[in-house]
Amino acid sequence: MGVALARLAQWTAASYGTGTLEITPLNEILLKEIIIFVEHFIYDHPQEAKFSFVEPLEWKTDLEPSAFESGYIVSETTVTSEEVDKNGQPLLFLSVPQIKVRSFRQLSQLVFIAKDTKLKEAQACVEANRDPVVKILGSDYSTMTEDSSAFNILHKITSSDDPESEMKMRIAILLKQLDLHLLSYILRHISLQICLNPEPVKKDIELLKSFSGKGEQTVLESIDYTSDYEFSNGCRAPPWRQIYGEMCYVLVKPHDVETLCITCSTEGVFLNGDIRFNEEQQKNQIDEVPTYAIRKSVSGSDKNKLEKNQINFRKNQMTRRLEPSLNWRTTVDFKDRKTPAKDSQEEKHGGKLEKTRTSISPGRAQLLRKSVDKVEEMASESSSESEEDEEPPDHRQEANADLPSEYWQIQKLVKYLKGGNQTATVIALCSMRDFNLAQETCQLAIRDVGGLEVLINLLDTDEVKCKIGSLKILKEISHNPQIQRNIVDLGGLPIMVNILDSPYKSLKCLAAETIANVAKFKRARRVVRQHGGITKLVSLLDCAQNSIEPAQSSLYETRDVEVARCGALALWSCSKSYSNKEAIRKAGGFPLLARLLKTSHEDMLIPVVGTLQECASEENYRAAIKAERIIENLVKNLNSENEQLQEHCAMAIYQCAEDEETRDLVRLHGGLKPLASLLNNTDNKERLAAVTGAIWKCSISKENVTKFREYKAIETLVGLLTDQPEEVLVNVVGALGECCQDRENRVIVRKCGGIQPLVNLLVGINQALLVNVTKAVGACAVEPESMVIIDRLDGVRLLWSLLKNPHPDVKASAAWALCPCIQNAKDAGEMVRSFVGGLELVVNLLKSDNKEVLSSVCAAITNIAKDQENLAVITDHGVVPLLSKLANTNNDKLRRHLAEAISRCCMWGRNRVAFGEHKAVAPLVRYLKSSDTNVHRATAQALYQLSEDPDNCITMHENAAVKLLLDMVGSPDQELQEAAAGCISNIRRLALATEKARYN
C-alpha cells in the first residue's frame, strides 16, 4: 500500500511528517479498501496473520478500553492482548490514547471491535504510519524507494531460506497485491475523468522504443508510428480522424505474435483488427491473473520468467489502456461488464445480438469499447430508461470524396423542392422516390444537401399532397439510424404527431409509419410521448369493426385496417421504453390491441403481437394482457404460417408465462403442442430462441411438463443442446432444468444422452446459461444413475469450480446443484475431499452478502457435513463462527438452510459449545416464531442438537424457547414433533439435574 498511499492519497498540503489525510471521496475509498483487506486478512491468510511486525503500528485511538472483550486483559486505562509474540511482548497494547498493534490478527480484531469508527481508526493509523510496510517488514522492504521491488523480492527469496524471511516475503507479496489493487481501484475512478492526450502517449512510445530491438533482452521487436508527420498539437492522425479523438496509429511487433496495429485515441488505446481477436486476447488476460504469475515465478525463482511476465503485462496494458499500473483488474471487470449486458440482451431480444455483431464491418479499426456500449444501450432500452443517450457519431460525407451521380441529381431535386410551387414540389418529390431510397448513399445525400429540412418543413404546410409526398420519402429514408436522429434533431416528430390528427387517413398512415421508423431510439420515443403521440397512436387502433369496407382508391383515403396497422407499427417501436408502455396502458391500448389480435391479417398481427411482447416484459402489463384474454389469440397465432408472427407470439408467451395462471391458459388453449412442434424447425434461430424460451417458462408448471413429455419435446430439447447459439441454449437448458424436476423426464434425458452435453456446458462463460445449466445438472443429479454419469464426466468438479464465478446467481445455482450431487454420489465424502481447497472455498462463501448464495451454501454445507471427516475439515476452516454470524436474519429460506447446517455441524467435537459461544442459539430460538413450517422443523432439529450442551439449554430457556417448542410438539409434522420434544426433554433434564444438585 506504500505506493498507493504515497502517490495517490490526497494529503493536506502544508503539513509534513505527520500529515493528515484530506476528507475526499478518493481517500475514503482508499481507506475502505484497506479496511476490507485487513478484515479479511485473518480469514484469507491465517498463517500470515500471526506474524508479528518488526515495529508496532502506533497511533492515537478513540477506542475505550471497555470496548475490548475476550482475549484481552482490560484495566481502566490500558488493554493488553492475551496473545503475545515469541519474546512475550503483547501483540496489542493500548494505553489511552496511544495504541500499538503488532500483528494482522490483532489489526483484524481491532477493526472488528471498532465497528462504526473503523474508518476513523484506519485514517488515524495511516496518518501516523506514513510507511506501514517498513514498520511491518523492516526497512529492506521500503516501497518509498523508486526501484521496482519485484527484483528485490526475488533477490531476497533466492538468497535466504529461513522460515521468517519466507513469511516476510509472503506478506510483502500480499501488501504488494493490496497496493496494486488500490492503485487500480483508484485509477478506475480517476480514469473516468481523464482522457489521454498526445504527450503521455508520445512518452510511452518513446520509452518502449528505447527498450525495443532485436534479441532476447528487449521488450518488443519494434514499435513505430504509421506516419512521420506530427501536427502542431502532437497528433499524427489525419485531421478528419482527429475529430473522433484519434491521436496516432502505432505498429508494434512483439516477440511472440504478428505485428499489431494499435490506435491511440483520447478514449484509450485500442487494438485494430476484428473483434474476435480482441475477445481471445481478453480471455488470455484473464487466465494470466498476475497473482498467479507472480507466485509461480517467485516460487520457481526463475528470473527470466518473471521478466517475461512483466513484458506480458506491459503488452496487455498497451492493448487496453495506457495506465501506469499493471491493471489486470480493469480487464477482468471489462469482461464482467460485458457479459451481463449481453445476457439480458439475449433474453430480451433473442437473436438480435448476432445482427449487431455482423453489422460491424470487420477489418476497420474496431473500437471495442464503443461496440460494448452499443450492446449495453440496446439492452437497457427494453427494460429501463437510463439518462444518457448513446448515439452513433454523425458521419457526414466528406466533401472531397468521389460523390456518386445520385448526389448531384438529388441536390437538383431538393433545389426544386425549395424553390417550386406545389406542382413543381410534387413532381420533384415523385421523382425523388425513383431513387433507391433504401440505399445509404441516397439517404445521406438527401440529408447532406439540406433535403431533410425541406421535407420536414413541407409537413408543416397546408398542402396535403406535398405532405403525402414528403412522408413517403421520409418513411423510406428513416430506416437509416443517422437519419432517424437528424429527423428528431430537426423537430420532425412533433409535426408528425400532429399529422396523426389529420382527417386524411392515408396521411395518418404515413405519419404513423414514419414515426415507427424514427422511434427506434430512446430520445425519439420520449419526444413522441411528450407530444401526446402515444394517445393519438392508440386512437388509430380504434378502427371500425366492419371488415367489409369499400376499396377506395383516392389519394387521401385508405382502409381503416391499414390505419390501425400503421398505428400498431408505431406503438411497437415506441413500446420499447418503459414510460411509453405505461402511456399505452393509460390510453387504453390493451383492449384495442386485444381486439386487433382477433383479426387474421398477418401484417396487422405482427406489430400487434410485437407491441404486446414488449409490454409483457413488465409485470403489471402481464396482468392487463391476462385480463384481455390475449393468451388465447397468441396461441392461435402460433399456428400461423408466418415465421415472424410465430416468433413474436412465442416471445410474448415467454414473457407472460412468468405467471402461473398464464402458463395454465397456454395449456388450456392448446398452445403446448404447436410450441413443441416448432422445436423441430431449427433453421430460424430467432424463432427457435423465442420458442424454446416459451417452452422453458411454460415448463415451470408441472402439468405442462407432462404435456411436453407427451409431445416428445424432451427428446427434441436434448437434441438442441449442441450446435445452437447461446440465446437458444439458455432457454433449452432452462426448459430441461424445469422438466428434470420430474423423475420420468430425468430418465428420458439420461437415455437420450443429454447429460454429457449438459455437463459440457458447465465450462461456458455466459452467466444466464451457467445459472440454467447448473440447475439442470443439479436436477439430473437427483437420479443416482444420472449421478454416476455426471461423476464420470467430472461434472461435480466443474460445478465446484463455478463457486468461484463472480456472479452471485451462478454461485448460488452451483451450490444448489452440488447438494443432490453430494447426496447421490458414491463415496461422496472422498469425492469432496479430492477437490483441493474446495472445502475452504465453500466455507469462505459464507462471507457473501447475497442471501441466495448464503442459503445455497448452507444447504451444501449441510450435505458436506454428513461426512465426519469433511465436517472436521470445515470446522477447522471456521465454519462455526461464520454460520453463527449469519444467525441474525429474517430471510426464511436462509433461516431454514442455516438451521439445517447448524444442526449438522453440531455433530463434531465441541461445535455445539462453539455455536453457543458465538451466540448462535438465541437468534435460532426466534426462528420458531417464523410462519414457515420448514423453518420450524429445521430450527427444532438444530435446537435439539444444540441442547445437548447445558449452556445452550440455559440460553434457550432464557429466550423462552420452551413455550415455543411446546407449541411445536403439537404440530402434525412428525419430525418437528420429535425434535421439539427432544429439545424440551434435554432442557428439562438439565433443570432436574440442577435441582437435584441443589438439594444434595
Binding site: 410551387n421 415523385c430 425513383d434 383516392s554
Partner: protein
C-alpha cells in the same frame, strides 16, 4: 322557375348522374340558379355561367389560382363549347369534381393538360403549364433552364414509351403507380379541404331543404 319545372329538371339530371342523389342534385340546381341570378332567366337566351363567373367560382370556392388551368377547367365543364356552363354541365362537372372515380378524374385531368387536344401532352405544353412553378432566381443565367429541367424530370418519370410526349396510356400508368401525379401539371381538382367545405355548405340538412321547399 316554377316548382314543377324544377322537379322535372331534377329528375332528368338525377337519372343521368351516377354520383349524386336526388336531394344533392336539387341542391346543386338551386345553387346554380342562385349563382346565375334570376335576371338571366330570359326565354330563348341560354342560361348559364360565363367564363368569368365560372372562374370566379373556381377561385373563391375551390381556391384555384392559375389562370390558364382555370380556363382549361372551364373548358372541361363547358362540354358543348358554347362559352357558358349550363345547369346540366354544372351538375355533370361537379359530379366529377366532387365524386369522380379515379378513371373519370384521370380522363378529365388529361384533357385539361392536353392544351391543344391532340391526345398528347407535349413538352411544349408541359413547359407552358409549368413555367410559373419555380421561383425565379436572379442568379440563374437562363431563367427557363429550371423549367426545362423540370419538364425533363417529368418526362423521365411519366413517359413510359420514350416518345418525348405523354400519351394517355403513359399518364394513366404513371398515375396508377403514384396517385400524386394525377394533377401533375397544376391543381385542376378541388383540394380536399375546400371540397369538404363546399359540400358541407351546399348539401345542408334535408329537413332544412324540405322546409325551404314548403315555404
Amino acid at each position: 322557375m316554377n316548382r314543377k319545372k324544377l322537379q322535372k329538371l331534377t329528375d332528368t339530371l338525377t337519372k343521368n348522374c351516377k354520383h349524386f342523389n336526388k336531394f344533392e342534385v336539387n341542391c346543386l340546381i338551386k345553387l346554380f340558379y342562385n349563382l346565375v341570378g334570376e335576371a338571366t332567366e330570359r326565354p330563348g337566351a341560354a342560361t348559364g355561367l360565363d367564363r368569368n363567373a365560372f372562374r370566379n367560382i373556381l377561385h373563391m370556392t375551390f381556391g384555384m389560382t392559375d389562370d390558364m388551368i382555370m380556363d382549361r377547367v372551364f373548358r372541361g365543364f363547358d362540354r358543348d363549347n358554347d362559352g357558358i356552363v349550363s345547369v346540366t354541365e354544372w351538375v355533370h362537372g361537379l359530379s366529377l369534381f366532387l365524386r369522380g372515380s379515379l378513371e373519370e378524374k384521370m380522363k378529365y385531368c388529361f384533357d385539361v393538360f392536353d392544351l391543344n387536344g391532340d391526345g398528347f401532352i407535349s413538352k411544349e405544353e408541359m413547359f407552358h403549364m409549368l413555367k410559373n412553378s419555380l421561383l425565379k432566381q436572379p442568379s440563374e443565367e437562363d431563367p427557363d433552364e429550371g423549367i426545362k429541367d423540370l419538364v425533363e424530370i417529368t418526362l423521365k418519370k411519366m413517359d413510359y414509351d420514350h416518345d418525348g410526349k405523354l400519351s394517355f396510356a403513359d399518364y394513366e400508368k404513371a398515375v396508377r403507380e403514384e396517385a400524386l401525379l394525377l394533377e401533375a401539371f397544376g391543381p385542376c381538382l378541388p383540394d380536399p379541404k375546400s371540397q369538404m367545405e363546399f359540400e358541407a355548405q351546399v348539401f345542408k340538412d334535408p329537413n332544412d331543404f324540405h322546409d325551404n321547399m314548403n315555404s
